[in-house]
C-alpha cells in the first residue's frame, strides 16, 4: 500500500525542498521504493538539491501533456536505485497542470512505489492546490519564527478544509543555543501554537548548505541534521522513536569565550 505525502509550508525558504530530498533519501536507504515529485513548476530546485539536474530530459508537464510516458520522465538517483525523481518544468508555470491531472498522475505511480512525496511550492495558489490534490497526508515544515508559523497555521487550516487530516509538523532550522538564551522560540512553543503532531525537529546545521551545493542529501550521514532526518523517516514509517536531544555539546573553550563576550 503506497502512501502519498505532501511537504508544504506556506512560507518560502523554510526548507521544504531540503526536507523532501532528505526524507526521500532516508526512505530509500531503508529499502523503500520512493518517488519525489517536484510540483514547483517554473522554479524547480529539487533536482539541483539531489544533484540530478544534468539528467533531466522530460518533466512533469511533458508527462501531463502526453509528450512522453511517465517512465521516460522518472530519473533514477545516483546513489539509491530505489529513489526516483519526477522533475518539474522550468520554462512553464503553475497553470500548466491542474489538480485533476495531478491526481491521475499520482494514481498511476501508486502501483510502482511505496512512498510518493510531493514537494509543494511556497504560497497557497495553483501550485499548492496541485500539490495537495492527491495527498493522503501532509508534513508541514516551519521555522521557529513568527512569520513562518503564521503561514504554517494558514496552511494547516487549508489542508484540513481539503480533507487532509493526517498532518505532522517538522520544526526546521532550530538553534538550541538561541532557544536557551531566550532569543528563539522553542519547539514546545511552536507546537503549542500550531497544535498538530510533531514528527521531528531538525537543527540548523551548516552541513545542509554543503550538501545542497554538492547535490548529496545529508540523511543517513553522521551530521546532526542527517540523524534528525533519519529519525523522522523512521517515524513516518510508523516506528516509535523518542524525540532526540538537539543540544549542542559546547566545549570548555567555547563556553569560556562566551563568558568573555558577555562581559
Amino acid at each position: 500500500m503506497s502512501e502519498v505525502i505532501v511537504i508544504t509550508s506556506g512560507k518560502g525558504g523554510v526548507g521544504k525542498t531540503t526536507t523532501t530530498a532528505n526524507l526521500g533519501t532516508g526512505l530509500a536507504q531503508l529499502n523503500k521504493k520512493v518517488v519525489l515529485i517536484d510540483t514547483d513548476i517554473g522554479l524547480r530546485n529539487l533536482d539541483v538539491v539531489l544533484g540530478l539536474e544534468n539528467r533531466i530530459v522530460y518533466n512533469l508537464v511533458d508527462v501531463v501533456e502526453g509528450n512522453c510516458r511517465i517512465k521516460q520522465a522518472l530519473i533514477k538517483d545516483k546513489k539509491y536505485p530505489e529513489l526516483y525523481l519526477l522533475p518539474s518544468a522550468q520554462t512553464r508555470d503553475k497553470s500548466s497542470v491542474s489538480p485533476e491531472q495531478m491526481k491521475i498522475l499520482v494514481e498511476e505511480l501508486k502501483d510502482e512505489f511505496d512512498y510518493i512525496i510531493l514537494d509543494c511550492p511556497a504560497g497557497i495558489e495553483q501550485g499548492f492546490k496541485n500539490a495537495i490534490a492527491s495527498a493522503d497526508r501532509a508534513i508541514v515544515v516551519t521555522n521557529p519564527e513568527v512569520s513562518a508559523i503564521r503561514d504554517a497555521d494558514r496552511i494547516v487550516g487549508l489542508l484540513e478544509a481539503n480533507g487532509i487530516n493526517k498532518i505532522d509538523l517538522i520544526v526546521n532550522k532550530i538553534r538550541m543555543d538561541m532557544v536557551k538564551r531566550g532569543d528563539m522560540m522553542s519547539i514546545d512553543d511552536v507546537v503549542d501554537i500550531l497544535a498538530i503532531n510533531l514528527i521531528g525537529a531538525v537543527p540548523d546545521d551548516e552541513n545542509i548548505v554543503i550538501s545542497t551545493n554538492r547535490g548529496e542529501p545529508v540523511a543517513g550521514t553522521d551530521s546532526r541534521a542527517g540523524k534528525a532526518y533519519m529519525n523522522i523517516v523512521r517515524r513516518i514509517m510508523g516506528e516509535d522513536i523518542p524525540l532526540e536531544n538537539l543540544d549542542v555539546n559546547i566545549g570548555f573553550w567555547t563556553k569560556l569565550s562566551g563568558l568573555f563576550k558577555k562581559n
Binding site: G51, N54, K78, Q90, N213
Partner: protein
C-alpha cells in the same frame, strides 16, 4: 451541408477538404465564407495549397485560388498534389532546404539567458552573453555562445548532424546535437574554474566530443 468545405493545416501549408457531391458554385460561396472568417487567424502569409475529397479541373483550381486571395491576405504560392509519395518527396526537399538554410543563416541574441528562459530558432544562433543553468537554447543549426555556456543547448534540432556548439566557457548542463545527447559529469559544479578555454562541441561517430577550439578542429568542421 455545413462541413462540405474544411480547411486543414499541415507543416507545409493548408489542405482544403471539399465535398465531392455538392455543386461547385455552392462550394465557392462556402470557401469565400470560410476564408473570410479565418483571414484574421492566418494573417498575411504565403502558403502552399492542396485539395482533398474532390477532383478539380485547372480552371476550378484557379477560381478557388482567386477566391482565397479576394477574401483573405493569404497568397497561395503553389498548388500541391495530395498524392502520398509526392508529399513525402516534397517534405524531404523542404526539410533539406530548411537544413541548409539553418546552417548558413544565423541570428544574434544579446543578453544573458537566465533560468527558465528559452531561445529557439530554425537558424544558427550567436549569443552575446551567458547561458545560465536552467536556460535552454535550441537551434536548427549551430550555436555560438560568446560567454559562459552553463545551461542546456540543442544544436541541429531538425537533424543536422554537422551542427556544432562553441562557447568561451564550455560547461553545459546538457548538450544535444542532432539526436545524440550528453550531460555534464556529476562532480563538476556551476562554478567556473577561472581559466576557461574556448571550446567546441561536435558530433563524431555517434558521440559528442568537446575539444579546445583550434585551427585543426575548425578545418575538420563541415556544414
Amino acid at each position: 451541408m455545413k462541413n462540405s468545405v474544411m480547411i486543414k493545416g499541415n507543416k507545409y501549408g493548408i489542405v482544403l477538404v471539399l465535398d465531392a457531391i455538392q455543386p461547385f458554385d455552392d462550394l465557392k460561396l462556402q470557401i469565400a465564407e470560410k476564408f473570410g472568417e479565418a483571414s484574421k487567424f492566418f494573417g498575411k502569409c504565403s502558403l502552399a495549397l492542396s485539395f482533398e475529397g474532390r477532383q478539380l479541373s485547372d480552371t476550378e483550381e484557379q477560381e478557388v485560388v482567386d477566391i482565397i486571395s479576394e477574401n483573405s491576405d493569404i497568397s497561395i504560392i503553389c498548388i500541391a498534389d495530395s498524392n502520398k509519395s509526392r508529399e513525402t518527396m516534397f517534405k524531404k526537399s523542404v526539410d533539406e532546404k530548411l537544413g541548409q538554410i539553418s546552417s548558413n543563416l544565423g541570428e544574434f541574441y544579446k543578453g544573458t539567458l537566465r533560468s527558465g528562459q528559452a531561445l529557439e530558432s530554425d537558424n544558427s544562433l550567436v549569443i552575446l552573453g551567458d547561458v545560465n543553468p536552467g536556460a535552454r537554447v535550441a537551434s536548427g543549426g549551430s550555436v555560438v555562445v560568446l560567454g559562459a555556456l552553463k545551461g542546456t543547448v540543442y544544436a541541429g534540432v531538425s537533424g543536422n548532424m554537422n551542427s556544432f556548439v562553441v562557447a568561451l566557457e564550455m560547461n553545459p548542463l546538457q548538450i544535444k546535437i542532432g539526436d545524440v545527447i550528453a550531460r555534464r559529469p556529476d562532480n563538476s559544479g556551476d562554478k567556473s574554474d577561472g581559466n576557461a578555454q574556448v571550446k567546441i562541441a561536435f558530433l563524431e561517430g555517434g558521440d559528442i566530443y568537446i575539444e579546445p577550439l583550434s585551427k585543426e578542429v575548425l578545418s575538420e568542421i563541415r556544414f
